[in-house]
Amino acid sequence: MKNTPQPPVWADKILSWICAPHLIEIILGDLHEEFHFKVRKSGARKARLLYWREAIGFIKPRYMKRQKSSYPNTSIISHDMLRSYFTIAWRTLAQSKVYSLINVTGLSIGLAAAMLILLYTKDEVSYDQFHSNNPNIYRITSRFISPAGAQTGVGGNTGFLQGPKFAAGVPEIRAAVRFLGTQSDIKKGNEIKSEEVFHADTAFFSMFSFPFVSGNPQTALREPKSVVISEEMAMKHFGQKDVLGKSLLMKDSYDKDARFEPYTVTGVTRKSPQNSSIKFEILVPFLTKKGEMERGMNWFNTFLNTFVLLDRGSNVSLVEKKMNLVYNADAKEAMKEAAEKYGENNKTEYTLQPFTDMHLSTDLPANNGLTGHNNPQLSYILTGIALFILLIACINFVNLTVARSLKRAKEIGVRKVVGGGRMQLVAQFLGESFLLCLAAFIFALMLVQVTLPTFNELANKSLALSYLFDIKLILGYLALFLTTGLLAGFYPAIILSGYNPVKTLYNRIQLSGKNYMQTSLVVLQFTIASFLIIGTLTINSQFNYLINKDLGYSDDNLLTVNKSNLTREQAHLLRQELQKDPNVLAVAPKNGGRWNTRAKVNGNTEIGFTYETVDPEFLPIIDVPILKGRNFSADFPADSITSVLVNETFVKEAGWKDPIGQVVDFWYDNNKKYAVVGVVKDYHYADLSEKIGSQLFTMKARNSYGRFFVKIKPGTESGSLQHVANTFRRLFPLDPYTYKFLDDENRERYEAEEKWRQILLFGTALTIFISCIGLFGLATLSAERRTKEIGVRKVMGASIASIARLLTANFLKLVCISFVFAFPLAYYSVAKWLQNYPYRISISALIFLEAALLAVLVAFVTVSFQSIRAALMNPVKSLRSE
C-alpha cells in the first residue's frame, strides 16, 4: 500500500467534518474506490484533481443533514427538560423563601453598587472626551529643571507668550488657545453682579466642540468687544434666548480704572456638558495689552491655561522638542535677565499633556479656571467598595447554595439515576443561579434609579440611568450580570453535580463535616467587612480631626467681604462708617486671594513665603497673638515703609535666634529692606491639607487690599449684616456685594471630605449588612441540620445557654480568624492613606479594637438569634419524626 497513490488527505478531512456522520463511511468508501479506478485509468495526478471535484460535489445540504436519532433528545435545551428546570427552580426558591430573599437582596444591593460605580467611572473616563478634535488637543505644561539636572517641579499653567509663539514657530501646531478666567462685574439696570468671565483666543470654538444655539462659532470671537454666553446666562440676564446682537455691560472687577463697556452677544451656546473641564457662562475674546507680546519676561509669568491643536498623527515628542527650540531661541535674553535679577537658575522645559488626561491627573491637575478636577484615589476607593459588596453577595450565594444542597441531594441522586448527565446538572444549577441573578439584576436597576439622586449629591455628579443608552455601558452591565451569575453559580454547580447518587439516595450523606471552602469564604467575608470598618473609622476620625482642629485663630462672627482694589483711604472711610453701628466690633482689610513671593534673609538665603498685606487691626480681629516684639501700630507711622511681621515658621526657616530687628531683603524690588518688628504665632492660614509655611505680613502701601473682615457682636447678625450691606452699597455703588461668614467658609473646605465620609459609611454599612444576612442564613441552616442533635442534648439535660453557645461559638471563631487577615491589611492601607494629610491622627489600637468589637457584636447578634431559637425548641417535636 505504501507505493500506491493515496487520495488527498485534506479533502477527506473536510468531508468528514462537513458531511453527516452516518453517510460519511459510504461517501468516502465510494470516493476512494473511484479514485483507485481513476489512478489506473488516467494516472495519480489527474485522479487527485478529479477526486477534489467529486468530493466538492458532496458539499450539499442533502449530505450534511444529520440523522435524527430514534431516541428522545437529551440535549440541555429540550423543551420538556426546560420546563422541568423552571418548575424545580421555582419550587426550590418558593420553598425556602428566607434564602431566596437573602440571595436576591444581597445580590441586588451588590449589583446596584457596582452599577452606580460603573456609571460613575464611565462619567469620569468620559470627561472631556466629547470634543471632536480629540486626541489632538493638548495643554502646554512645563517641567522645571534645576542646574544639577534634576526635576524640581511641574506646572500646568502658561502665560501670554507660549501659545502664540509656539503656534507661530512649530508647523505641527494648527492653533493655540489661551484660556483665562477672571471676575467681572455685569450691570443690568441698576443692579451689579459679579460673574466669572472667561477669556479665550479666537480659535476656541474651532478647537473645542461646544454646540451653538445661535451665532457662528467661527466668527463669534473675532471682534474684540464680542461675547458668547450660555442659554442659562441669556435667560438670567435678558429673560430670553434670542439675544444675538444685544449688548451686555461689563467691566473687570480687579481693574480700578475699568469702566462699564458694552459687549455685543455674537453667540449663544448650550450649557457646557457636565463632564467638561471647561465650563463657561460668559466667554469673551482674549486681549493682550499692547507691548505684552514683546516683553520677554512674560515667558515666566504664568497664570492661564494654553491649549494647542496638533495636526493629526503628529509626533508629540518631536513637537515638544520644537517648542523648546522656539522657547530657547526667543527667551534667551529674558532667561539671562531672570538669572541676573532674580537669581532664577532653574530651567524650564515645555511639555504637552493630552487634554483628556487633565481631569484625573495628580501632577498636572485641571485648575485655574478649569473645573471638576477629581482625585483618582477616590475612584479607586469607590470601585473597591463596590467590588467588595458584590463579592460578599456572591459569597453568600455560594455558601447558602452549597449548605442547602443537602436538601437537594435526593433530587440530584434521582436525576443521575434516571440518566441525567453531569453537564446537564451543571447547566441546571447555573441556570438557577442566572435566574436568581436576573431577578436581582432587575431589582438592582430599580434600586439604582431610586438611589441615583442621593448618590449624585454625594459624588457631586449629575448622572442618569439614561446614560445606559451607550453600547459600552450596556456591554459593561451585561458583563457584570454574566460574571455575577457565573461567580455565584459555578462552584455550587460543580459541587452539587458531583454528588455520588448511591450515597445521596442511601441517605447517609454527611455534608456537615469539614467544609473548608465554606469556612474560608466566611472568613474572607468578614476580613473584607472588618477591613472596611477599620477604614471607615479611621477616615471618620481623620475628618473629625480636620473639622475640629484648632486653626490657631478665631473665625467666629467674622464676616468676609470681597472688594477689589480697596485703597487705604477707602478702607479708612469704610471702617469709620461701619463702626457707627456699635454691633460692629472691628474692621480689618487684607489682600485678596493668596500671594506667594520670595525674599532674602541673612544676606543671601532665599525664603519663599505667603505674603500678607494687612493693617494693624488684622491680627487682633482673628485673635492671633504676637509672641515677640509688637504688632503694626498707628503709633509707628514708618511701619508701612520699614517693618514686617513674620510667623514662627519663618523664624525657624531663617534660623534666627533673635528675630526682632532682622532684615528681610526684597532684592528684586529696588533692593528694599524691611526690619522684623514682631513674631506672630503660627496659625492655619490655608486649609489643613497644607502644612503651615512661612508667612510674612506687610503694610506696604503699594500692595492693594482685596477684601475686608468685619467682626460683629454675637447674636446681632441680621442688624449688622444689613448695616454692612447698606454701607457697602453706599460707598461702592459700582462694586458687587457678596459676604460670607469665615467659619462657614472654613467648613465648606471639607465639604468634599464630608461627602466621601458619607459614601464610605454607607458602603461599609451595606457590606456589613450583606455579610450578616449571609451569616444569618448559614446559622439558620446549621441549626436546622442539627435539630436532632439539639433534641438529644436537651433530653440528656443540656441547658439552653450551653446549646446556644455551642451553635454560636463556631461562627464567632471564624469572625475572630478574619481579624488576623484584616488587621495587617487595614493597618497598611490606612497608614498609606493618612500620609496624604500633613495634619493627621495617629493610628491607634483603639480603632482596631472598636472594629473587632463591632464585627463580633454584629455577628453575635445575627447568629445568636437563630441559636437561641434552636435551643428553645421543644425536643419532643424534633425527635418525634424519627
Binding site: E25, G29, H32, R53, G57, Y63
Partner: protein, 112 residues
C-alpha cells in the same frame, strides 16, 4: 397519477440497480450508467438519486463487506423493493402503450 413520480435519472438508476441484481453500490452504478448512456456521471448525483429512491421506498439497502480499496470502509448495497419493481413495470407499460400507438413510420416535423 397513481404512481410516484420518477425522474429520468432516477429511473435509469433504479433500472440499473435492478439490472445489477444485488451487486449495486455507488461506484459500480456510476460506471455502469456511464457505460450504458455514455454521459458523464458524478458520484454525488448517484448518491442523491439513491437517497431519494430509498426515501420513496423503491430501493432498500444494507451494508456490504469492507475492501482495501475503499480504505477498509464498507459498501452500501442496494436492491429494488416490490414497490420499486411495480413502478418500473408501470413506467414500462406506459411507454409500450405509447409505442404501440405509433402505427405509421414517424411523421417528422419539418421546418417550413
Amino acid at each position: 397519477m397513481n404512481r410516484a413520480y420518477l425522474g429520468e435519472f432516477e429511473e435509469i438508476v433504479l433500472l440499473t440497480v435492478a439490472a445489477l441484481d444485488g451487486g449495486a453500490y455507488g461506484v459500480v452504478l456510476g460506471h455502469e450508467i456511464a457505460g450504458q448512456t455514455g454521459r458523464e456521471v458524478r458520484l454525488n448525483q448517484v448518491h442523491s438519486a439513491l437517497q431519494r429512491l430509498e426515501e420513496k421506498g423503491m430501493v432498500k439497502s444494507e451494508m456490504g463487506e469492507p475492501t482495501a480499496e475503499r480504505g477498509g470502509r464498507r459498501k452500501r448495497l442496494y436492491t429494488v423493493t416490490a414497490y420499486g419493481q411495480n413502478t418500473l413495470h408501470q413506467v414500462r407499460e406506459v411507454r409500450e402503450n405509447l409505442w404501440s400507438r405509433i402505427v405509421k413510420p414517424f411523421k417528422l416535423a419539418v421546418e417550413l
